[in-house]
């Protein structure tokens, strides 16, 4: 499969601090790619650099044949990269429906918002019942669903999910990953950040291990689970 997103030696960080160092990675056009690694080692920074929330210090980001490094976040969304941020970042005072509609803010997405809304409701039926509720009154699992649904409303070609399991009860994590899995199986390109490698090992077409801001290993999920020395060194498992 060809690469949809190609990272070419990118570095990023806050001020003088460099969090991410020379990471190169190819994300396939379809299926799940997972970025794993311990907390605070640059996984979130990587997504933020891709979506333009954080300026690049070095390197190139090529998406669908175009260099998108240094573009504004809204331009990157328009290009088709959808970033569902860590901790959802919903609009707390808007209703579920308004949150979802914000996902389809850009004109090309707004034109299809009716159809997409039905798709989101089909995938996440709970949201249909909750659509008039104010987002800040939802439970953690419901919020995660709104976050993902809001991302789906944008259409886009690559969906980036930052720790969709964060802070949820195990049973809710399973529900969320069922949805993510379904998206990936249907051929959508999904880039997931996950701390727990075992959770995504059997689903991801490619796993990339970030440690201390560097890419230290990448390969298939099954391969990783067969390498206990890597698991022990980097993931403490």
């Amino acid at each position: 499969m060809t690469a949809l997103l190609q990272l070419d030696g990118i570095s990023a960080g806050y001020g003088n601090q460099t969090v991410l160092r020379e990471v190169s990675l190819a994300v396939a056009d379809g299926g799940m790619t997972a970025i794993i690694g311990p907390n605070g080692h640059g996984k979130t920074t990587l997504l933020r650099a891709i979506s333009g929330l954080m300026p690049l210090k070095a390197g190139r980001i090529v998406f669908d044949g175009h260099d998108i490094g240094g573009r504004r976040p809204d331009e990157i969304v328009a290009a088709g990269i959808i970033h569902v941020p860590q901790g959802d970042m919903l609009f707390p005072e808007l209703t579920v429906l308004e949150n979802l509609l914000m996902g389809a803010y850009l004109p090309q997405a707004a034109a299809e918002s009716g159809r997409r809304l039905e798709e989101v409701f089909a995938l996440l039926p709970k949201l249909r019942d909750r659509r008039a509720q104010i987002a800040s009154t939802l439970s953690g699992g419901e919020r995660r669903m709104v976050g993902i649904g809001r991302g789906l409303m944008a259409g886009g070609r690559l969906l980036m999910l930052d720790e969709p399991s964060l802070g949820l009860a195990p049973i809710v994590i399973d529900q969320i990953y069922e949805v993510v899995d379904e998206l990936a199986r249907s051929g959508r390109a999904v880039l997931v950040v996950e701390e727990n490698a075992a959770r995504v090992a059997d689903k991801a077409v490619l796993m990339a291990l970030l440690d201390n801001g560097r890419l230290v290993w990448s390969g298939a999920g099954a391969e990783l689970m067969a390498r206990p020395e890597i698991l022990a060194t980097y993931l403490g498992a």
Binding site: R72, D74, E93, Y105
Partner: protein, 292 residues
């Protein structure tokens, strides 16, 4: 009975006027945490532009008002581009933009002073005549202000609740980064908010000067009162600000009747301090989540 009608009539007029000057401020603070200290100068600018268009160019009052809105809208936009945009992401944004707009306000106010002089000038945008309720004369101009205020509130509510721009404004105010991830170009949204608030300032300036008269520093007091209203309502809460404006207008009319004009502001302030000790984030305000 007539006293009560009188108090209600003047209280509502004052409240409506406060509401018009307050919503612009509340909108700007709610959207980008910016206390626009140049708002008072924009009130004066709007009042004078309308006066100039009518008295010197002989234009229709509505064109005068519209012209004032355009000029102040552009001024608001300029404040965003020159002052707010370069420091939007810097730490201490709130403090720095506050100080910067104090400076910009002084510049605008003194330009108005240079152009039009320090003498009080009557505002030609003024309805004559009055209607009589019981024994009380209510000037038509007061009714116009009340009607205009209602119209503006309704328009603003419609804009915020029903339009794409309105939803983008609210979303950006609630979580700037998330709005960016939805494809919102936040600096465009902010620019529109400041232009809008400038236009509202112009209307408010014309209305305030129609009841008293035009002065280059006429904006100072209304701005301070508008800020107090924002504070009572909880900074950035647009709907709360409207309610607080009406209530404070009525209270002030009452205080003026009972205690005399010179103490009404002091009473107002005392009230605000008590409210804030009771509820440090305003009557309708919510504790903001600390963003790191």
């Amino acid at each position: 009975m007539d006293v009560i009608v009188q108090i209600i009539a003047s209280g509502l007029t004052m409240g409506a006027m406060y509401a018009i000057s307050t919503i612009g401020l509340a909108l700007v603070y709610g959207s980008l945490n910016m206390l626009n200290m140049a708002h008072g100068a924009l009130l004066a600018l709007g009042g004078y532009v309308c006066y100039f268009a009518m008295a010197h160019l002989g234009l229709h009052p509505l064109i005068g008002l519209l012209g004032a809105m355009v000029v102040c809208g552009v001024a608001g936009l300029a404040i965003f581009l020159v002052a707010a945009r370069p420091m939007l992401r810097a730490e201490n944004f709130e403090t720095r933009i506050f100080i910067a707009t104090i400076g910009i306000g002084a510049i605008i106010e003194n330009i108005v002073l240079r152009l039009f002089g320090p003498q009080p000038t009557p505002q030609p945008f003024n309805l004559s005549g009055a209607i009589v309720i019981g024994q009380v004369h209510v000037p038509n101009q007061n009714l116009l202000i009340l009607g205009l205020a209602l119209l503006l509130m309704a328009g603003l509510a419609l804009l915020l609740q029903r339009t794409r721009l309105g939803r983008a404004i609210r979303a950006t105010a609630q979580n700037r980064e998330a709005a960016q991830l939805m494809g919102v170009r936040v600096s465009f949204v902010y620019a529109q908010v400041l232009a809008l608030s400038g236009g509202l300032a112009a209307i408010s300036g014309v209305m305030i000067s129609s009841l008293s008269s035009l002065l280059p520093n006429m904006g100072g007091d209304p701005m301070l009162k508008a800020f107090i209203i924002c504070v009572v309502a909880g900074l950035g809460n647009v709907y709360g600000a409207v309610a607080a404006a009406i209530v404070l207008g009525l209270l002030e009319a009452m205080a003026q009747y009972v205690l005399g004009v010179q103490y009404s502001f002091a009473i107002l302030l005392l009230l605000v301090i008590l409210v804030l000790i009771w509820r440090p984030f305003g009557l309708f305000g919510r504790r903001q989540v600390v963003r790191l």
